[in-house]
Amino acid sequence: MSALKGTLIVELAERPCGEYCGKLLADFGAEVIKVERPGGSPTRKMGPFKDGIAGPERSTLFAFFNTNKKSVVLDTANPADCARLAALLARADALIDDHAKPFMAHEEVARRFPRLVHCLITPFGQGAPEDWQIAGPLGVINAGGWAWHTPSETPPDKPPLKGAGRFLPDYEAGIDAALCVASSLYRQKRTGSGQFVDIAEVEVQINRVDCVLGRMLAGEQEPSHARTAYDMGGPAAAFACKDGFLYIFMTTKGHWKGLRELMGDPAWMAEFPEDWLEFSCTPVRVDLFRQHFAGWAGTQEKHVVSELGQKLGVTIVPVNSAADLPGNIQMQHRGFFQKLTHPVLGEALYPTASYRMSKTPVTLTSPAPALGEHDGEIA
């Protein structure tokens, strides 16, 4: 059983944000029909590709964002195809789009399909100046402030960063969009009517930092041009170790006590007040700590030292790479990765979802569809 079984969603989206929204809902069991232009969604042209060779069925990016979906090809410049799309919308529950210039204006969607939930994701939201809506993920994460403040403690002469991978803001926007569509579908079940949902990708970015930026808006912390304005201070940081990197987070006397034990209580640690993290965490001490700790960390193995640390109450963790994750015993226990076979990409490990649902588990039942694979299923 799946949570959104029986729900029909039409996806006109062609960017990762809209495709992720569709994927999240498809993975809950909704029937998501991806409508693609002749030649396919632009995301089919983005790599990495199987064996480094481009092709509509060879993109790992497309394969990830489109599991559990169907694909039909329609040319919206062709009146007959437009009529087929309209017929599809007439029997659909929701429509997901992510174009600044959508296939159909939301007023018209609301008039012709009053029961439809219509979600439109754009960089700055409806009503924004046209030239702003060309922002890609790099523009969104910079316009939303996370780039400016990433990583923590970035010096002024280093560039703001785009975050992990190419599409971090797209994932974030996709989550909020899927949440709103699911909420609106719930309302549709109760009232029989639809809603227009207007998602602004930049507003997702600022919402994620509500209790930091919100205090600045309210005048409780001074906003500034400092790159460190979101930081917390303290010694928490990533360090190189023998086999990669580890991360330590410390704020309490208990953390310090545990670390002294873990490190065998070298003489330099006795120079620090026991409660320095709480009451005298000066930049000078933080620097001194980091110098000593970096030397020691270089001799440690990330998984071994993390496990020992955790047992002593020290929040020290490995900075895991992609290759570390499938072997993680907790992820294995929870079945986070799932094997799925794609006709061209072959068998591969797919991350599933962070929420284990007791009655409606998220399951990947089909790989991303071939272009137009389900053309025959629509009239």
């Binding site: 523009g139 309302r187 979101y230 797919y350 284990r356």
Partner: protein, 399 residues
């Protein structure tokens, strides 16, 4: 007194939250901002730390006020059997229960899923923990930057050639909270169709891992372990942030060859034949980036962004906290908005990322005073007479 009708897609849904700090409260906030009635169970004996950070007044704590708009607050001392019983009576009248408290705490209080089902058979319960509710590593604890490090996300974030220092230390909690809200609403849909509730066990680490899903699948197919790569992009060059006047920065992406030509012309860059193709530019990436930086540094970031966007090049000022707070568009569109505030009358907050039409949920009330809704919850929901409520207060069951 009945509460005002706020509308919204989740109107009529009641959520009980036993949450602290950020991830769990963010879930509650998202559901409330969609119209649900969200009741936060609180107690002076076991306060949400956010009521204490940054001040001495529990009712005016900056962090707390910045998250908990449209949340109701009820006081219950869950360390007393009577208090626990009252919480169970609240569960009986709720649709959803959320917690992100210490592992094992819900079970010890008899608030595990099996017990809640006996009270309310179709209850939806969601728990957020670093590694999830059970399993071989469930004993481990950590904070958001630990989730991000463990998840594989932080490994991909860092300046070229440096230790991957990861996302800003604040990243992680809110995203985990948003995923939790999504799972809850999916479960509400399932309950509406089938009448069946369920237990949802969310791993904050896996929430972070989900955000790099495409990189992980690529690794599984190609065998190449993705690395922290600064602002580099395999399919766009240039792609990055460049210094402007007065310490500001601008992000510029050339999504195709035509945008590169337009950019080079706008900035009066040299354009050797080799740079006409993406491969040629990638081979010379650092030199191209340095050349761009040498030109952008004379520009004001906002003016340059406007200039380049008019040519079709996605170029955006990298926003500082001061830039964000003074951004006209965010104020104008409702990205920021005002809610009520007990001390100052009104307070600006960060609004939701969505607008809905029709029937958007109203967001008007700021975060609650501790116990502000005691009378509503005990009187209206549980139907206790005023004398009983006064007695519970006297005996510090309501504290």
């Amino acid at each position: 007194m009945p509460l005002p009708d706020r509308g919204g897609p989740l109107a009529g849904v009641r959520v009980l939250e036993l949450t602290k700090v950020w991830a769990g409260p963010y879930t509650g906030k998202y559901l409330a901002h969609l119209g649900a009635e969200v009741i936060k169970v609180e107690s002076r004996t076991n306060l949400d730390e956010m009521r204490a950070y940054g001040g001495v007044d529990l009712d005016a704590a900056p962090y707390f006020l910045s998250i908990n708009q449209e949340i109701l607050s009820v006081q219950v001392n869950m360390k007393t059997p009577e208090g626990l019983d009252l919480v169970k009576q609240m569960v009986a009248r709720s649709d959803v229960v959320i917690d992100n408290i210490r592992g094992g705490a819900m079970e010890r209080s008899g608030l595990d899923y099996a017990s809640l089902c006996k009270i309310k058979p179709d209850i939806i319960q969601l728990s957020i923990k670093m590694w999830g509710n059970e399993g071989p590593l469930a004993y481990q604890t950590g904070y958001a930057p630990c989730f991000a490090a463990l998840s594989g996300l932080n490994y991909l974030v860092g300046h070229e050639g440096e230790v991957p220092r990861g996302m800003n230390i604040r990243y992680g909690d809110s995203t985990a909270g948003a995923y939790a809200a999504l799972a809850i609403v999916a479960a509400l849909n399932h309950r509406e169709t089938t009448g069946e509730g369920q237990f949802i066990d969310l791993s904050a680490v896996e929430a972070m891992t989900s955000l790099i899903g495409d990189s992980l699948l690529s690794w599984s197919v190609t065998g190449e372990v993705p690395q922290a790569d600064g602002n580099a992009h395999a399919e766009m060059c240039p792609h990055g942030a460049f210094p402007c006047a007065d310490g500001t920065w601008i992000s510029i992406a050339a999504e195709n060859d035509a945008q590169w030509v337009a950019l080079a012309s706008a900035l009066k860059l040299e354009t050797p034949e080799a740079h006409a193709t993406l491969a040629g530019r990638q081979a010379d990436r650092h030199a191209i980036e340095a050349a761009i930086a040498s030109k952008t540094v004379a520009w004001d970031a906002s003016a340059l962004g406007e200039h380049l966007r008019a040519l079709g090049i996605p170029a955006f000022r990298s926003m500082s906290s001061l830039d964000l707070c003074s951004d006209d568009w965010l104020w104008q569109r409702g990205g920021y908005r005002m809610v009520s505030d007990h001390r100052n009358g009104t307070r600006p907050i960060i609004g939701p990322s969505w607008r809905m039409e029709p029937d958007e949920a109203k967001i008007e009330r700021g975060a609650p005073l501790l116990g502000e809704h005691n009378d509503y919850v005990y009187g209206e929901l549980l139907g206790l007479p005023p004398g009983d409520i006064a007695d519970l207060k006297l005996r510090k069951v309501i504290d």
